[in-house]
Chain length 353, copies 3
């Protein structure tokens, strides 16, 4: 990825670079708030040191505890002066609202771009749009896009910090951060824990970012799903030691099972070969062939947790009753998502404690 | 309605219930602000004691007076820390903006869900969507829906307070509160006042909520309109003593005439039998057959007020010049709507003075 | 224009007028904030004295400098208590966001009306919509509309301040203010400077407002473009001394060249006769026939600036590389737009220093 060297702290030279590439700024100004904004980007979990990840988890926990003790939203002003633009080229109300609320709770203003109808989008390149938003005062852009290469195509001159809210089948770092945080909260540690990610691994950016992040904290990641929805051996080799495993073999070992959404839209778009899978999904016979049913879940350990990134197709990838199971973390994931995104925005802004 | 027992104060046991039903909350947290939020719902005017209604009117008056004295918006922080989601499954810019502005003026954040395009809506049940919003930090949801049964189908486990912004033909409590407030402001008291509600009563949630509320404060409610747009005798019996009356007989008795909007969309959807009514409406001959014309209004008392919940179809249900008549309260209703909704949100949050 | 007499200070009588025309306000209230809001309108640059324009430029500069010194957004509270509605009957994400952000940065609340889907728009006249917004608490409305006559049709009774964000081919005053501010910043003074406005002058409100404003500060305005996209002699006579000139003759004299966007939508809507122009534009051969190419720009003075109101069609009206040229002011214009709109909102509110 051309945007930044992961793990490497930004040097003064790197900070200066975007300015040097924009000679048109004859007044030496850097836009409203760029001067103060540390130019961090979050494209995938590799952009974050282990130490940073752990500080984010601590911060998420602290934010949550402060709110529970009744200390109101308005006390968090750590992002005051920031303007967070959201550009969702793939619709996702859930993730977009979570980011916007996180930003507002920290005192930032939000600039939600209605990408489907924006004249920016129609007539301009993404670089031009981002530069325009930066000139307008945006200090960060939260971008979701169907193209894996969307960020690597950008180059360093965009003038604001980029936050990946999901690119193609490649990465979804805040989802991985909140999933790992939820597991860490519940399990105490990820060391040697067995996390099963189940379903359409092939098309899932959630699976990829999770596999990369969980392995770094010592978890064993097992991937399972219908044969034609699993990654190739070549890709597996890059996925930080994650192993493919039959679902029936994975279940009894699991400390947590993360079900993935069957992404019908994506399948249809990709013209996926195995139409039988799709038809099965639509008939909910996908559930009985591949989903997490109550019957299958009975073979798991009594402490095994259930996760799902949402939105859930009840009775497709997971039996409806399991969504509401005592060990389901699904709403807890949504709740944690808010605090993890607040911590992420603080890191981007250079103010994460 | 299954949601709450109207008029009954919520007990500690009721407060605890949602938590008991969500065993997945292993950390004992109740979401960001639920701890502080009293779990009130407003589904119809029956959920409010007479005493609460009067406190709302007093509060609306006080808010309005404080603003007129130049004490700015930013002084009201009674909803700080709250997040108000709006879900309008039927479009209504006017009502949605009024709620969002009311929330923001009291210091709350707003989460406007674009329901027509939300992936939440498409793939999830309303319960799942509301639980997700609650997990994200929303403490209240303002819902408009075409289905009369939308709230009774929900059950108690939604995790936030519900505020009905209009459900089917059943209820629209904040509209009734603001209409009654406007009449109370202008007439001093509702006792023995004759309020004529005129037009398409059959499909009007505004008429139903108003009939129920006005009667409680001693008003005589007369319902008039085209014969096939009036409620059945069976329904009338439930409408708190409201009586059907010919418009020509009602006018001379009226202290106020509330005209209802001809809801063409709703008629079309319902496949309403009497197509003649519709065609007439479109040709504005509805006005002369059934509407409030200047000629008809001349037969009213000199003090008779004109109300309309808006948006107005000028020269359909009411002659355009009457909209701008000195005794028209139509803009005053919009103005009062803001303050009534502020007071309503404060009641929901448990902070109404 | 019926709305206000340009340059004439509003008298007490004028202030009282709207109230007198709205006798339905029996309580003597003027809506939440009208009491404090000075009722200024900005329909075109003629509504602003030279002195006001210069105070706006000074204020924009001051706001920009304060932010650069690290004094945060949240310190500007000059619009606290105001509610700014935006009604864009023609889509323009860029301008709408710039206004909304400017309002929020000054502490105002914003009411963005989704005009394409609003029930207000469908069933009501613009006057009714504006009066409703005013009753809801809006103190200003930022309006973009395709109709030249949209404001002159309104009359004085709308109950809030109007801010023209572009009407038909007539005027776009904040764009002219920010363009002139950018030139003033860069050139020190506009006196005797040659400003070339190039492209589709005929359909351009940007060209018209700029021609009127720049001339007032002593600039010589040259208009160039394809023959059938130039204004008639009759119109030219009204454009404050602006002269038509061949592009090749204009370039060597120019202190700045302002390229206009080829507005394909507008051409199509107008059924513009010269379809060849359109086809050429689409094939980017428009660039070579009429656009600002690097080759043409080499004939300009070494200090000549490049402006464009955006969004840019790269390689249609301007060669892509010139957009990123050291003397391009295009992003600077966006940046200045924010501060100019902040100053404009302050003037409307009667609090411009």
């Amino acid at each position: 990825m051309s945007l930044l060297a992961p793990q490497e702290p930004e040097t003064t030279a790197q900070h200066a670079a975007p300015q040097a590439m924009e000679p048109r700024r004859t007044h030496g100004d850097m836009g409203p708030l760029e001067v103060r904004a540390r130019r961090h980007h979050l494209i995938d979990v590799g952009d974050l040191d282990d130490d940073v990840v752990q500080r984010m988890w601590q911060r998420a926990k602290e934010l949550q505890q402060r709110e529970q003790r009744g200390i109101g939203t308005q006390l968090f002003g750590t992002l005051r002066g920031h303007v967070v633009a959201t550009l969702f080229f793939e619709a996702s109300t859930r993730t977009r609202l979570s980011f916007e609320l996180a930003a507002q709770r920290l005192g930032a203003l939000t600039l939600p771009l209605d990408v489907s109808r924006s004249s920016l989008e129609k007539s301009e390149s993404l670089v031009d749009t981002l530069q325009t938003l930066a000139a307008m005062g945006a200090t960060m852009a939260v971008v979701r896009h169907r193209d894996n290469a969307v960020f690597s195509n950008l180059g360093p001159q965009v003038g604001l910090s980029l936050l990946n809210a999901g690119n193609g089948t490649e990465a979804h770092p805040t989802q991985a951060l909140l999933d790992a945080y939820t597991l860490w909260q519940q399990l105490g540690s990820l060391q040697d824990r067995v996390i099963v990610i189940h379903g359409d691994i092939l098309h899932s950016r959630v699976a990829r970012s999770n596999a990369r992040l969980l392995a770094r904290f010592g978890a064993r990641v097992l991937l399972s799903g219908p044969a034609d929805l699993l990654p190739s051996d070549a890709e597996l080799a890059q996925l930080a030691g994650a192993q493919v495993c039959a679902f029936s073999d994975a279940i009894p070992q699991a400390d947590a099972i993360m079900c993935l959404r069957v992404q019908r839209e994506r399948h249809e778009r990709a013209g996926l070969a195995d139409a039988a899978v799709l038809r099965a999904a639509e008939a909910t016979s996908f559930l009985h062939a591949h989903g997490l049913t109550q019957e299958r879940f009975e073979r798991a350990k009594p402490s095994c947790l259930i996760l799902h990134p949402g939105p859930v197709n009840r009775d497709v990838e997971i039996e409806g009753t399991l969504v509401d199971h005592p060990r389901s973390q699904i709403l807890q994931q949504v709740r944690n998502g808010l605090y993890i995104r607040m911590a992420t925005l603080e890191w981007i802004a250079g103010v994460l404690p």
